[in-house]
Amino acid sequence: MTRGSKILHAGILVAGVAAPLLFPGYTFQFAMLWIMILFALTWDTMGGQMGYNSLGNIIFFGFGMYISAITQIGMYYDVGEYTAAFGAIKVDFSDAQYYGGLALGLVFAALASVVLAVVLSWVLLGLRGPYFAIGTLGIALSAAELTGAWTYVGGGGGISMPVFPGEPEVRSLFFYCLCMAVSIACYLFLRWLYGTRFGLAINAIRDDEDKAEAMGLHTKRYKTFAWAISAFFLAMIGALFGNMTGFIEPMEVAYPTVTFGIFMVAMTLLGGKGTLWGPVIGATIFHTLKEVTWTYLLGWQWIALGLLIIVNVVYFQQGILGWVKDRKPEWFGVKVDAAMSADAAASGSAKEAS
C-alpha cells in the first residue's frame, strides 16, 4: 500500500464511522449506501472482472434473506404456524434469542447461498454472453414465483421479522455497523483476491474463455468460485436487509429483479466495470443522487433511471473510472508512449469503422 492509498482507506473508515454519529437521522440511508456498494462490488466480480453479465444475482440476496428468516424464527417457533395468515401466533424473542438467531441466520444464509451457487453453476455457468444474462434473469424471476407459491414461508403473504430488542436509534446503528462491516470485508477480500493468480485467471476468462481453457486453466472451477463469492456476500447483506426492513415478501423485498437487481448493474457501469474502485464510486454517486432527487420526482424517477441506464450503456460505457483512465492514464500507473497511443487510436477507429 502506498501512503496515499493508506490515507484514503483511513479516511473512508473514519468517514464511515463518523457519518452516523454526525448525522444520526440519516443512519438508515448510510446503511443503504454500504448495501449498494456491496451490490456493485459483487456484481463486478462476475460482470466486470470475469465478463459474465448476470441479470439475476439478486437471487442470492433473496435466498439469504429467506434462509436467515427461517433460521431466526425456526429456532424457537414453528415457521409454518407463524406465517399462516390464519391463526397467526404472536412471537416474542428474548435478547439472547434475537442476537443468537441473527448470528446463526447470517451464517446459514451465507453457507446455503454458496451451496445454491454451486448447484446453479452446473446449469447456468455453461451459458455464455447474452444467454447467461437471460438465463440468470429467468432464474431470479422464477425464484420469486416459486417462493411466492411456498406456503410454509407464507407465500406471497410474507414474513414479519423478529423485532429488534432495543431503542430505534440503537437499532439503526447496529445494522449500520453490520452492513459496513460486511461491505468492508467484501472489499478487502476482493482487493486481495484480484491481486492473486485468481484475479488474473478470471480476467483471462473475460478476455477469451476458450484460450484460457487451452492454456490449462480449469475455467469451470474459477467461474464457480467467483459466483460463490458473490453469493456469499449477497446472502449476508440480504439477511441484514430483511431484518432492517422488518417485513419480507418474495416479489418486492426479497427478489426485486427490476429494482436492486438492475441497480447493481447500473451502478457498476456508471462507475466503470472491471475495476475495484469503479463499483464503489458508481454506487456512491448513484445512491446519493437517488436519495437526493428520487423522492421529489414523484413518478418520473423511473424514467430518469431508465434514461440513465440507456445513456450510460450507449454513450458512456467505460464508466467514470474508465473515462478518467482514458484521459489520464498516468494516474493509474500506465505509461503512455505517444507514438504507440496514436497507433492504437488509429487502429481503434479503424475497427469501429469496419
Binding site: L8, A19, Y26, Q29, G156, G157
Partner: protein
C-alpha cells in the same frame, strides 16, 4: 503520485456525499401548519389504489383547512401532508418512514396503501413511538402483534367476504340444502391482503363445514385466469370468490363474462375501483362486492355532511371517477381522526395524542370510528353490495340492506346482453 490524485478524487466524492445528506431537519409543526407524513404508492402495482387514497387524504385536508383548520390552544392550524412515493414495495415503505420520522421530523403519520406496505411501516412507527392512523391496511395480522401506535379506521380483512359466506349458507338453507353442501371456489392474488381475505374465507367455510374445491393463487402480473375459470366450469361450485385488487376484479369480470361462468353466486373485492359495471355492463350483473363504505349508508358528520354529500363532493372535485372507491372515503376518515385527536388533545405531544386517538369515538360520513385495544375499528361493519340493474345496492347485512339478494345470479344475462 497517481494514488494521491485518486485520493483527492475520492475525498471530493465523499465530502460531496456528506454534504448532500446533511439537509436541515424539518419540524413537525411549522408556523401554522401541522405536517402529516405518508409514504403512498404513486408508481408500481398499487399506483391506482394509491391515487384513490391520496385523493381521499387531500380532499379531507382541503375541507378541514377551508373550514378554518384545526384549533389547538387559541391558534388555528392548517393541515398539510408530506408524501413520498413508496413504489408499491414494502422495502421502500420502511426506508421512507425512517426518512419521514428521523430526517423530516414528521410526528404524525398517515398509512400507506396495502397491507404489505403497512406491515413494513408499523414496526417503524412503533419503534419511534409515532402514532399512525391508517386507512388501507386491512390484514388481520397487523392487529395481533400488539402494536400500540397503529390505528386503522377500516374493518379488517377477514370481514370482507364473511357476509358472502353467511349469505351462501342462508341461501342453501332456504333451498332445503345444508350449508355444508356448499362448495366454494377461491381465486386469490398471492399478496398479503388477498391471502388474508382468503384466510377469513377459509375460516368461515370451516365453521359451516363447507367444502373448498378450488384454491388458486393468482400471480402478480395477472392478465389471464381462464385456466382457473375452466376448473370452475368443470367443478360447478356454488360460490366463487375472487380477490386481487383492481386488476384481479377487471380480469375476473371480463373472463367470467366471456366464458359464460354460471356459478349462482359470485363475490369479488375491488369492484368499484375496477369499475366492473362501466366496463362489462350487464356482464357484471349479480356480482357481490364487499365494501368498507357505501354512499347510500346513513352516516353523517359535520365536515362532509352525509355519505351522499361526500360522494357528490368527491365526484365534483376529482375527474376520472364514476363511483367513489371506498379506499378514498376511508382515507378521508383517517384525516378526520387526526384532526379530531388534535382538537381533543389540545397538544402536539405524540404520547398524549396516541392516548387521545385510542379513546376516539367519532361519527364520520364513513361510519363510526372507535378503536379496539389492538387498534382496529370495531364500530363499523362491512357491507355487501350486489350489482343490480347497473348499480351497486346493499344486500347484506340485513340491517343495512336496501335491496333483496338476487339468487341465483342471472347467468344467462351475460351472454344475451353481451351485445
Amino acid at each position: 503520485m497517481y494514488k494521491t490524485k485518486r485520493t483527492f478524487l475520492l475525498a471530493a466524492t465523499a465530502s460531496a456525499v456528506a454534504l448532500a445528506f446533511a439537509g436541515p431537519a424539518a419540524a413537525k409543526v411549522e408556523g401554522d401548519k401541522i405536517i402529516l407524513g405518508s409514504a403512498i404508492s404513486i408508481t408500481g402495482k398499487y399506483s391506482q389504489e394509491g391515487k384513490n387514497a391520496r385523493d381521499g387524504y387531500d380532499l379531507a385536508v382541503k375541507m378541514i383547512n377551508d373550514k378554518g383548520g384545526v384549533k389547538v390552544g387559541d391558534k388555528s392550524y392548517k393541515l398539510e401532508v408530506k408524501y413520498y412515493d413508496d413504489e408499491s414495495t414494502p422495502a421502500r415503505t420502511a426506508q421512507l418512514l425512517e426518512r419521514l420520522i428521523s430526517q423530516d421530523g414528521v410526528k404524525y403519520v398517515l398509512g400507506p396503501y396495502s397491507s404489505g406496505t403497512t406491515k413494513a411501516a408499523a414496526p417503524v412507527t412503533e419503534k419511534y413511538k409515532i402514532p399512525m392512523v391508517e386507512a388501507e391496511g386491512a390484514s388481520r395480522s397487523l392487529f395481533t402483534q400488539g402494536y400500540r401506535y397503529l390505528f386503522a379506521v377500516l374493518s379488517t380483512s377477514e370481514q370482507y367476504l364473511a357476509s358472502a359466506i353467511a349469505l351462501a349458507a342462508e341461501t342453501a338453507k332456504k333451498q332445503g340444502k345444508k350449508p355444508s353442501d356448499v362448495r366454494i371456489a377461491m381465486a386469490f392474488e398471492n399478496d398479503p391482503f388477498s391471502l388474508d381475505v382468503r384466510a377469513g374465507v377459509v375460516d368461515d367455510a370451516k365453521k359451516y363445514g363447507m367444502k373448498i374445491v378450488i384454491d388458486d393463487k393468482l400471480p402478480r402480473d395477472l392478465s389471464d385466469m381462464s385456466a382457473t375459470l375452466t376448473k370452475v366450469k368443470a367443478l360447478k361450485p356454488d360460490l366463487l370468490v375472487v380477490s386481487g385488487h383492481t386488476k384481479g376484479a377487471s380480469t375476473a369480470g371480463r373472463q367470467i363474462n366471456e366464458m359464460g361462468i354460471s356459478v349462482p353466486m359470485i363475490a369479488m373485492t375491488h369492484c368499484e375501483s375496477a369499475d366492473i359495471i362501466g366496463k362489462f355492463g350487464a356482464g357484471a350483473e349479480g356480482i357481490l362486492c364487499p365494501t368498507q363504505w357505501a354512499e347510500t349508508l346513513s352516516y353523517k358528520d359535520s365536515l362532509f355532511g352525509t355519505a351522499k354529500q361526500y360522494n357528490d363532493l368527491f365526484l365534483k372535485t376529482y375527474t376520472g371517477y364514476d363511483t367513489v372507491p371506498y379506499q378514498s372515503a376511508q382515507a378521508s376518515a383517517a384525516v378526520q381522526v387526526w384532526a379530531d385527536a388534535f382538537t381533543r388533545a389540545q397538544s402536539f405531544d405524540t404520547e398524549k395524542l396516541r392516548d387521545t386517538i385510542a379513546a376516539t369515538n367519532l361519527d364520520t360520513f364513513y361510519g363510526k370510528v372507535k378503536f379496539s385495544p389492538a387498534g382496529n375499528n370495531i364500530a363499523k361493519p362491512m357491507v355487501l353490495r350486489q350489482v343490480q340493474n347497473g348499480g351497486y345496492h346493499v344486500v347484506a347485512p340485513s340491517e343495512w340492506a336496501s335491496h333483496k339478494l338476487v339468487f341465483p345470479r342471472n347467468a344467462g344475462g351475460a351472454k344475451q346482453a353481451s351485445k
